[in-house]
């Protein structure tokens, strides 16, 4: 399992610095938190890691691999998966098809085999359908398998997105505000799932602005404000840090 290491990363949009000189590390087997007020640059940082945006300065490594300049689909193939702040499902596709596209990264079928509809390609598709059904069962979503994902309730859509990210069997998962709009009970259930992933060796980066949720769940927390890293440390250190209190409550 590999760690994500971010060194001196900046991103300018014209003259505006959305993220400046950020250093952070996301180790495997731990839940790392990234908090900050709205507009702090959290989602920008995620987009820089996943190759959606290009880095202006600095470097990003995943294990031994330099992913600073790597396009989004190759970052995903390196084993970094993400969820989106505003849930993004394939709205017209069924729930099970939404999960199945998650397996794409590890599929063995070659393009010619798929074009010719060879037996091996069809067999793999059938095997993936079975695995998707098992995943649906684990998340208690079996009865929605054939429904259009776009028509599901909000909480169920969140789960579908999570299953899709897990289906890609990532080494590192980036969760962009996964419990936004959920009550404490629902958030707690998801939190348990995240802890379980970390116990199994996966790196988890949790982006939130709900300080309480992050401090109860994370092993280590970074705080971003106006594009700068203003604090980092254990949850206890963070909640008592005067800079963090100022950022959240004003001076």
């Amino acid at each position: 399992m590999s760690a994500l290491v971010i060194k001196g990363v900046s991103k300018h949009f014209g003259g505006v610095a959305a993220v400046s000189d950020v250093n952070m590390e996301v180790p495997p087997g731990k839940v790392t938190g990234l908090i900050g007020p709205n507009g702090a640059g959290k989602t920008t940082l995620i987009n820089l890691i996943t190759g959606v945006l290009t880095v202006s300065e600095g470097s990003i490594h995943f294990g031994a691999q330099d992913i600073t300049e790597v396009p989004a689909y190759k970052v995903a193939r390196a084993g970094i998966s993400r969820t989106f702040q505003n849930i993004r499902l394939l709205a017209e596709a069924s729930v099970i098809d939404n999960v199945m596209i998650g397996f794409y990264r590890n599929e063995k079928t070659t393009t010619p085999a798929s074009l010719l509809g060879l037996h091996s390609a069809r067999r793999e598709t059938a095997a993936l359908r079975d695995r998707a059904n098992k995943l649906l069962e684990r998340f208690g979503m079996s009865k929605f398998a054939d429904q259009e994902a776009g028509g599901l309730a909000y909480g169920h859509q969140r789960r579908v997105e999570m299953m899709r990210a897990l289906a890609s069997d990532p080494a590192l998962i980036l969760l962009d505000e996964p419990v936004a709009g959920m009550n404490d009970v629902e958030a707690g259930e998801l939190g348990e799932i995240f802890r379980g992933l970390a116990r199994n060796g996966m790196g988890v980066l949790l982006i939130e602005h709900n300080v309480r949720f992050v401090t109860t769940l994370c092993d280590f927390v970074y705080v971003l404000d106006s594009g700068r890293m203003i604090a980092s440390g254990s949850p206890e250190q963070i909640v008592n840090d005067p800079a963090v209190i100022t950022a959240y409550l004003g001076s």
Partner: protein, 290 residues
């Protein structure tokens, strides 16, 4: 039955060729590309096949194969500059491509016969070949839909950001879709060349763009059956009711407006969706009774 075929033989061949062009249009849209290049790619396939046989004496199956390959290659090349464009900009760029192909056809008289047309092409292809080509095309498109590449196409069409966040290369798959579209258009262009005596550059102009798009929009953009049903309806309607034929274009226009307003998914996809929802509702009702 044999009477039926002697009367409607020509119409059936037109339907088979039209279905081919519709599927060429469909496959790019399936991968989320708004290209209208099918007409230009078909023209390239048709002229390539006809020229190789009439001027160089190639046997016609080989010429058709060459037309298919040239269509594929052109589609792949076209995808390189178009990879940076999206939506309506892709449509405009591919529209320009079709106009360029028409213009080249008109002005290179020595090769293509220009506006007078490329004449005296032997009639060597009939219903059997058309049907075989259409069945092969349908097989490949169904195979794609049932396996890995189809899932990638579907993800890209619905949300590119999601697709790439899961490791799907948008550029690769859109190039692949362009190549497939070129192969299908080139194949059916080549077949058409050997059943019309004469090729005119404008046969593959704006009219074919509109026709191929209409077939897909009317029939549906998801299932393979969509474009074929769309072709059947738009071609057969004016034939079965002769008075309508005089108003063919007006009729197309009215049908398109009605479909876009009331059935934006197209006839086949709307029907399939209705059946699926009914099945799910029945299943849910059965479960709640238990």
């Amino acid at each position: 039955m044999s009477d039926f075929f002697t009367v409607y033989h020509h119409l059936f061949n037109t339907f088979l060729l039209g279905s081919g062009y519709a599927l060429s249009q469909w496959v790019v849209m399936r991968a989320g590309v708004f290209s209208v290049a099918t007409a230009g790619l078909a023209s390239i396939g048709a002229y390539c096949a006809a020229i190789l046989t009439t001027k160089l004496g190639w046997p016609h199956p080989l010429s058709i194969l060459a037309g298919t390959l040239l269509g594929t290659l052109t589609g792949l090349l076209l995808s390189v500059p178009l990879a940076r464009l999206r939506g309506v900009f892709q449509a405009i760029a591919t529209l320009a491509f079709v106009q360029i192909v028409v213009a080249v056809g008109l002005f290179s008289d020595s090769l293509t016969g220009g506006a007078i047309g490329l004449n005296a092409i032997p009639i060597l292809v009939g219903t059997k070949e058309n049907l075989l080509a259409l069945l092969c095309t349908i097989y490949v498109l169904l195979a794609i839909g049932a396996t890995r590449v189809g899932r990638a196409f579907e993800a890209i069409r619905q949300d590119e950001a999601v697709a790439s966040s899961l490791g799907v290369s948008v550029t690769f798959h859109q190039s692949l879709a362009f190549g497939l579209s070129g192969a299908i258009a080139g194949l059916f262009g080549g077949l058409e060349a050997f059943q019309t005596f004469t090729l005119f550059p404008n046969t593959y102009g704006f009219g074919l763009i509109v026709a191929a798009l209409s077939y897909v929009v009317l029939g549906g953009r998801r299932s393979v059956a969509g474009p074929i049903v769309g072709t059947a309806i738009l071609l057969i309607l004016p034939e079965v009711s002769r008075p309508l034929a005089d108003y063919r274009n007006a009729l197309y226009g009215v049908i398109m407006m009605l479909v876009i307003a009331f059935m934006p998914r197209g006839i086949v996809d709307t029907g399939l969706l209705y059946l699926r929802r009914r099945r799910l509702a029945a299943k849910a009702a059965a479960e709640s009774r238990q």
